[in-house]
Amino acid sequence: MSDRTAVQELRKGLWAENPLLVMVLGMCPALAVTTTMANGLGMGAAVIFVLTCSNVVISLLRKVIPSAVRIPAFIVVIASFVTMVDLVMEGFLPDLHRSLGVFIPLIVVNCIILARAEAFASKNSVWRSALDGLGMGVGFTLAITTLGAIRELLGNGTLLGVAVLGQGFQSHAALVMILPPGGFLTLGLLMAAMQARKGR
């Protein structure tokens, strides 16, 4: 596992092992908050922070934590960082905090973060774990931002809140794209496109 270069460690999360589109982890926030592109970006930023920090701390503690109690130890570390993000976001970015709502606290149970702690950070050096967390976080962000952009564009005719498809489209926007089925549809098509490219 450690014969990758640092760049490869960082890049694997972006494409080949993309947490959302290839490993299919973190579905709950990916489907629930991606009604707008801004939500995708905000959620992604929170996940990048939590994932990188928890990977670093768990890697630092990997020789101290007995394997029998590793899961509760990981969860405590992850929950602490998530709570920090929640508090800081409410204090300094109240609008974003309001629109992401309950999905910030729910990062605690996001499978990506526990999966990286268990499968990577608990077995690798601090430096590699940080790169892994950053890469996976950015990969997740790219995927949910794309998802959010497509849904916002088709469902509301806007991108980042700016009207791009004109009034005529907006009054007949495909409401279904904002609703849960639109999330599944978009995600499925994105995953299919990803598979098609990889299979070539």
Partner: protein
């Protein structure tokens, strides 16, 4: 060291470290969080109130507060609040914070701005969500035209306000009936509370007789009751 003890020690240390870190962050963000909540309320008040020259946040009634003359901040946060706006001493309108328990994503805290006299006709000026977990881009359409504009200048009748689906008069948003219902019912409730408490400042706050729903909890807050346990304060 036996391994069970090691488990306990390691977990305790990790939990303790986390607690310390969180306490620090909580301490550092408490000010900004309180400020941003307060700023949101003041901003929302200015947006929904008619022109005023008093300080509406000073002239408020927290409906159902244990001590109506001095409600605590936590009560003002979770109970209905009626703010009165005055122009030249006369009541020009008010804003009412209503907590609707059944939004799509949990309770919704709505601030409804009203114009008029508590004893006369009451018109809606606008409304804001102070706290909510409605679906972004869908439930939140309840804050945008054309849904929001149907309430501008709307004369609120006495009695509850309902959406058409519930046999009322308000057009709901397609796909967001629940949030539409929250808005309609909150406006009806706000008008009711304003008619009851509007223009009565902190000093004359409604008291136990005021809010009928909250009365049992707040009854007896001010007057000593002639009961077995109430006579002890003379000694």
């Amino acid at each position: 060291m036996p391994k069970e003890l090691r488990y306990v020690v390691v977990l305790t240390l990790i939990a303790g470290g986390s607690a310390g870190l969180l306490a620090t962050v909580h301490e550092a963000t408490r000010g900004p969080i309180a400020a941003s909540r307060k700023a949101r309320t003041i901003q929302a008040l200015q947006a929904v109130l008619p022109e005023f020259d008093n300080v509406p946040t000073d002239e408020r009634v927290v409906v159902g507060a244990a001590d109506p003359a001095a409600p605590t901040e936590s009560e003002a946060n979770r109970l209905p609040v009626v703010y009165t706006a005055r122009k030249g001493g006369r009541v020009a309108g008010g804003a009412v914070q209503v907590i609707h328990p059944r939004g799509y994503g949990g309770p919704v805290k709505v601030l409804v701005g009203l114009e008029g006299d508590p004893a006369g006709t009451v018109k809606v000026r606008g409304y804001r969500f102070l706290e909510h977990k409605e679906t972004p881009g869908l439930g939140t359409k309840a804050l945008e035209p054309p849904f929001a504009t149907q309430f501008e200048g709307f004369e609120v009748p006495a009695g509850p306000l309902k959406v058409k689906k519930d046999g009322g008069t308000v057009d709901a948003i397609t796909g967001a009936t629940i949030t539409s219902r929250v808005v309609a019912e909150s406006i009806g409730e706000a008008a009711r509370l304003f008619r009851e408490h509007g223009g009565r400042g902190v000093l004359r706050a409604g008291g136990p007789a005021g809010g009928d729903a909250a009365a049992p909890a707040s009854g007896g807050g001010a007057e000593p009751e002639p009961g077995p346990g109430a006579g002890g304060d003379h000694e």
